[in-house]
């Protein structure tokens, strides 16, 4: 049972435009969500997070939106740059104390110059 789903395996966006990556979850006990960015043959790097007490968190070009009623979160990248081309994973946690995450399967973003 996939508790965290990223239904779009890939996404192509023109440089300068907005990239929107989506993530859905099924477990209403999840209370913290994160986005990671991963380049080939490297470990994921933390990008941005959001607590369930918020519905938006912004960090530079990156904004994460959380819709708890829909159990949906999204990552917006504006403007998109070629260096943003990578695989993006969303992750969710509802196990405070151990910080176990459930990861989605990832979305490969390609930003076209």
């Amino acid at each position: 049972d996939q508790q965290v789903k990223q239904n779009s395996p890939s996404l192509s966006v023109q440089e300068g435009r907005i990239s929107i990556l989506n993530c859905d979850y099924t477990n209403s006990m999840f209370d913290y969500f994160l986005w990671y960015k991963k380049y080939p043959a490297e470990g994921p790097t933390f990008l941005i997070s959001i607590s369930s007490i918020k519905d938006k968190n912004e960090d530079g070009r990156f904004t994460v939106f959380l819709n708890k009623s829909a159990k949906h979160l999204s990552l917006h990248i504006v403007p998109s740059q070629p260096g943003d081309s990578a695989v993006y994973f969303c992750a969710a946690s509802g196990h405070s104390g151990t910080y176990k995450y459930i990861f989605g399967t990832g979305t490969r973003l390609k930003v076209l110059a």
Binding site: V4, Q6, Y32, L34, Y36, A41, E42, G43, P44, T45, F46, S49, F89, A91, S93, T98, Y99, K100, Y101, I102, F103, G104, T105, G106
Partner: protein
């Protein structure tokens, strides 16, 4: 600053051979430690996590085991590798009061 090391970077092993992957963290004390696997075309799957020396929790039944002999050392092992053990193995750490996990560079394991 904190850094996390994993080795080797790549490994090709025959079926039935043993495995030992090592992960060490520098610049922090008493971290939570994690082993993940990313199989081809799939997301990151948590294999093991540890909240302290000698304390290991297994997330999925499998052919692998983990040990934490020192505070900042985490080892992933197998006595006999299977073809299905192939994948990209990632070690991660977190500060206990923080949710963010920080990943190492990973080990690409190919079982032939």
């Amino acid at each position: 600053s904190q850094t996390i090391h994993q080795w080797p970077a790549t490994l090709v092993q025959p079926v039935g051979s043993p495995l030992s992957l090592e992960c060490t963290v520098e610049g922090t004390s008493n971290p939570n430690l994690y082993w993940y696997r990313q199989a081809a075309g799939r997301g990151l799957q948590l294999l093991f996590y540890s909240v302290g020396i000698g304390q290991i929790s297994s997330e999925v039944p499998q052919n692998l085991s983990a040990s934490r002999p020192q505070d900042r050392q985490f080892i992933l092992s197998s006595k006999k590798l299977l073809l299905s053990d192939s994948g990209f193995y990632l070690c991660a750490w977190s500060v206990k009061v923080s949710y963010e996990q920080y990943f190492g560079p990973g080990t690409r394991l190919t079982v032939t």
